[in-house]
Each structure stands twice: as structure tokens, then as C-alpha cells.
Symmetry: C2
Subunit: 333 residues, 2 copies
């Protein structure tokens, strides 16, 4: 294992230290327990939004803390849910009295620990609503999940719910928007290589020299099948067909097309994936109205990509276009 780290046990804390040192205009961190929070939290009158989960998916979630998106993020150990303690602390840190939305990817540990933290926060007088993200169409149940997994679609939920909170929506409305995005987005991924969790020191699963895994989870959980390597266009077809058939998406729809890198895939390849995905959508009469391409929900250094398609309406489009100022995603203002 070759990684730019000092000690596997310090990976998350030292990375968070570097992160807030680099982006001190936007975020600060607490370390006992550990979370990342906007420097100006709680924002008076605004619904607070937090997310979190195991580390190793950066920029998800800390990279999305800032104006127009998350108020705080709670990073667990690599690929391990954060405990209720830091989730509770982050919840309290972002509550201005307007309540707090928890955006939770659907993994058993995450769901349980966010629920516990929400109960404790409610007992302390903070109103909490939770939205569980389950956009991955690849498998019904999985290694760490009852039901579908939450993957890259989470980024879109965080951006759009963040914009709703920013324009002054109340907690029920922000939670409703988040639910709507989750209900309107579908995702699926492919792995070309496994990744190495620092404290494990060896690959999280095996893939042959000419083998790929269709429907991979973001922790390397099994997907639908291992198949021999194919062309980018053929792989895109394998990912996109189940996505489009599931909602279903149909002719006349406006969508956001999100091609997400798993961490180790060159950008030049992500745009080759985007190119064919956009063509497939056009062939089906679906209009790509907005796009996002890059490494936003990663699995350490895994090579691979996922595709997410979000059905847009005027409100979601307007919220997507709203200004955002985070370490990883920014425009406007």
C-alpha cells in the first residue's frame, strides 16, 4: 500500500485539519467530537442542513459545506459511519431555531446513528427531519444496506436542498424538496479497479486484469455482475438503461446528467462517458438541461465512474442554478 498518509489512524483527523486550514474562509472544524461546520453557523433564521458518513468519498460531504449547500458535515472513519455523538454536536451547532435536516445515505450504520442523534437532539429541543438517500438502482439489498444504497445522487440532494434552505424555506419544505430530488434521481456505477482502505492495507475486493464490476457500491460492495472489460460506450449503455427504465425517464423530460468519477479515473475518460450518455439521452428524446462532471462522490483511488440522472422541473432547475460557495462546488455570487 502506497498512500500519502502518516498513520492510518490519523488519516481522517489530519485530512480534516488540512481541509479547514486550506478553506478557513468557508469552514472550521471541531475535533472532540469531529465535524466540519460553516464559519458563520448557525445562520440566523435558516434551516440547518447536515450530512455525513464514512470518509473516503471526498469531496462528499465536507467539500459541500458552505453558503447555499450544507451547514455541517460529519466524517466518520474511512468507509465507517460516524457515531451519534458528532452527529448530535453538528446538529446543535447549525440549529438557529429553524430546525435541522439530516441528509443520510442509506447504509444501515448511517441510518441508525443519524436516528439516534436525531432523537437526542429532539430531546434537547432541536427539531430534526431526516431524508434517506437511496438512488442506486444496481441492487435491492447489499452488503451494508437494507434497500437501495445512497450514492452520487446525494450531491444533487445536498445542492438543491441547500438552495431551498438558503432562500428561506421552512424545515418541512426543505425536507420535501430533498425527498423530491431523491425520488427523481437514479444512479449506477462501474469499477475498473478496487481501492485500498488505509487501515486494511489491501484491496477491498478482487477484479481480474480484464474484468470490471457493473453496479459497484461506493465502498466496493458487490454490484450486479463482473464482466470482461468493454468499450466506454458499451459500459455507459449498461449503466444508463437500468437508470432510465427505473424512474422511468421518458421523451420530453428535462434532466441533469451527472457523470461522477470514483476517484482514480482521469477526467479525459469521464468526458468520454459523458459524451455517450448525452447521446443516448438525446436519442430517447430526453433533454440534458444541466450537467455535472467530475470526482464528487469517490471511493478513495478506485478507477470507475457512476452516472446519475435527475428529472428536473422549473423549481429544481432554479434551485440547482442558485449560487453556491463551498470548497468543492462553487458558482455565482
Amino acid at each position: 500500500m502506497k498512500k500519502l498518509i502518516n498513520d492510518p489512524k490519523d488519516v481522517v483527523s489530519q485530512s480534516v485539519e488540512g481541509f479547514v486550514a486550506a478553506h478557513g474562509d468557508i469552514v472550521r472544524a471541531e475535533f472532540d467530537p469531529t465535524f466540519v461546520v460553516r464559519t458563520d453557523a448557525p445562520v440566523s433564521g435558516k434551516v440547518g442542513i447536515i450530512s455525513g458518513g464514512g470518509s473516503g468519498h471526498e469531496p462528499l460531504h465536507s467539500g459541500f459545506v458552505g453558503a447555499g449547500m450544507l451547514d455541517a458535515a460529519v466524517p466518520g472513519a474511512v468507509f465507517t459511519s460516524p457515531t451519534p455523538d458528532p452527529i448530535l454536536a453538528a446538529t446543535k451547532a447549525v440549529d438557529s431555531g429553524a430546525g435541522v435536516l439530516h441528509i443520510v445515505k442509506n447504509y444501515t450504520g448511517d441510518v441508525l446513528n443519524f436516528e439516534t442523534a436525531a432523537d437526542l437532539a429532539e430531546a434537547d429541543g432541536v427539531t430534526v427531519r431526516s431524508v434517506v438517500i437511496n438512488d442506486d438502482v444496481a441492487v435491492q439489498d447489499s452488503l451494508y444496506t437494507a434497500g437501495r444504497r445512497g450514492v452520487a445522487g446525494t450531491v444533487l440532494v445536498e445542492k438543491i436542498a441547500g438552495a431551498a434552505a438558503d432562500r428561506g424555506d421552512d424545515l418541512d419544505s426543505v425536507a420535501g424538496i430533498a425527498e423530491k430530488v431523491n425520488a427523481s434521481v437514479r444512479s449506477m456505477g462501474v469499477a475498473l479497479t478496487p481501492c485500498v482502505v488505509p487501515h486494511a492495507g489491501e484491496p477491498s475486493f478482487d477484479l481480474g486484469d480484464d474484468e470490471i464490476e457493473i453496479g459497484i457500491g461506493i465502498h466496493g460492495e458487490p454490484g450486479r455482475e463482473k464482466i470482461p472489460m468493454e468499450s466506454a460506450d458499451a459500459i455507459v449503455d449498461r449503466l444508463l438503461t437500468p437508470i432510465l427504465d427505473d424512474l422511468p425517464f421518458s421523451s420530453g423530460d428535462n434532466v441533469l446528467l451527472f457523470v461522477n468519477g470514483m476517484g482514480g479515473t482521469p477526467q479525459i475518460e469521464l468526458y468520454i462517458v459523458y459524451r455517450h450518455a448525452a447521446k443516448v439521452l438525446a436519442d430517447r428524446g430526453i433533454t440534458v438541461a444541466r450537467s455535472l462532471v467530475g470526482n464528487y462522490t469517490t471511493s478513495l483511488e478506485m478507477q470507475g465512474a457512476s452516472i446519475s440522472v435527475l428529472k428536473l422541473d422549473d423549481e429544481l432547475t432554479q434551485l440547482w442554478d442558485a449560487p453556491v460557495q463551498t470548497a468543492a462546488l462553487r458558482w455565482g455570487r
Copy 2:
């Protein structure tokens, strides 16, 4: 070789097609010959700025085309200089009569082909100035270079020169600013793994399971030495000491600290690198006034990172902070 591509010979053209499809609000492409250009080029009265070079370093350079940065980018084949033809075409496409600056990384092929294109453009009545970037302190001469190589510091030159052109500076002034940034920035990198050029199909160089290369070039050219794997902090010391000693940087300086990923390194590791680099600078009495962390000058899927330090004054800081709206780097507005 597992890559999300269709055919090695189509990698650049298909990636450019995807890139402009995803970012059609900012850029368009020409394909005969191939270059990427702002949709609103030439911008009336503004000095045009172009850069280019071999593909495989994305988002460099196409990702930096847009308001406040480059007017066009010329991607060659992977790790291969573009020919004079597309450089000439891009030069003409961005000239509004105020002249065009060529930002050229110091590789023999790039320098030669940009020179030829500049001569042809001048013959056609376009005034061209060129600035050659050579920020890499690792080696004096190298596989493809007489003198020092141009690496990640190029991003900083493009951003700051772009802001100077955007505020209305004339060609001599924009070229002068670019020269000043190049004279004030120093960089050095490390590779943990090699990368695979698509048409070659095998790793560009060899590294043992526990070996890294200090001073690596962005095409995998040899650096200073191969050494056994070390801690992130020890590696940062090896990169930063030659950088700081070279300019030299000294106590009281304000700097921009840029930690650049080579493509395949998880973001969590880049921030561990940033953390120690910032500490070393603080210990030397150097103030980190601005930061940039991410994959901006890559070598396909290479694992590794580079550090660049730019000495700032008030003017460079103001130009760095100016709004920018490109696919890969954006803030403000």
C-alpha cells in the same frame, strides 16, 4: 489496460466532444484542426490568451477556458505537443486586434510548435507574445526538456494573466504579469504509481511496490531519485525544501500554496499533504495567504502530488481573487 475509452485513437476527440457538450454555456470546439474556445471569442478589445499541450493533464488546459482565464486551449494527442496548425487557428480565433499571449509549458515540442504558430500568426497580422513556463525545480534538463519543466504552476499563470487581460491590460502588460508569476512560482512533484498512456497500453515507467519517485515529471519523466515509500510529512519535506530554497522564499513572504493531485490520489491524501506543507511554511515565518487544493495538472491516473508555492504581492493577490468562470475553476460573479 482498463480505461473508459472506445479506441485509443479517438480518446482526445471524443473527450473534447463530451467536454463541450457538458459545458456549452462556456466553451465550444473546432475539430479541423482541434481546439477549445470560449463561446464569446474573440472578446472585443481584450488581449486573447491561449495555452495548450499534450492531453492527459486535464483539467489543464481546456478546463481553464472561460471568462477571467484562457480564451482557447489546444489539446494535442496524449502527452504529445499539438502541431502548429491548431495553435495558429486558436490564435486567430481569439484575436480581437489586441494581440494574443501564448502560455507554453517548457517542453521542446511545445516550445517549437508554439513558436512556429506564432510566426505564422504574425505573418497574418496577429501580434503574439509568448511566455514559457518552467516552474519545476526537480531537474535542470529532462527527457523532453532543455532547462526546467513547466508543471502545475502553469495553472496559476493562466489564472492571474487571465485576470490581467480581463481588467483591460494591454498585451505587453499581460505578458509581463505572466512572466512575473512564472518567476515567482516554484513546484516539485512525487509519483507513487506510473500511468498508462492509452495508445501505449502499458505503464510509462516502473516503480517497485514500496518505491516512489521524487521530482517526477508530469509525463512520468525521471525526477531526482527513486526512494522507498515514506510518510506523507517526510515526502512533503523532500518536495518543499528545494522549492523554498530555490526562489528563495523567506520569512515575511505572503504565498499561495497549491497542492496538486496527479489524478489518482484521493482528496483525503491531498489535504494531509496540504496540512504539513502549511505547517512547514508557518514554521519558516511564511504566510499562506491563498490556497488551491485539487487535481488541476494531472498525469492521467498517476497517484502522486505536486506542491507549488507562489510569492504574492498585492497585485497578484488581487488578480488571483478576480472572478473566474471556467469548467474547472470558478468563483465570484
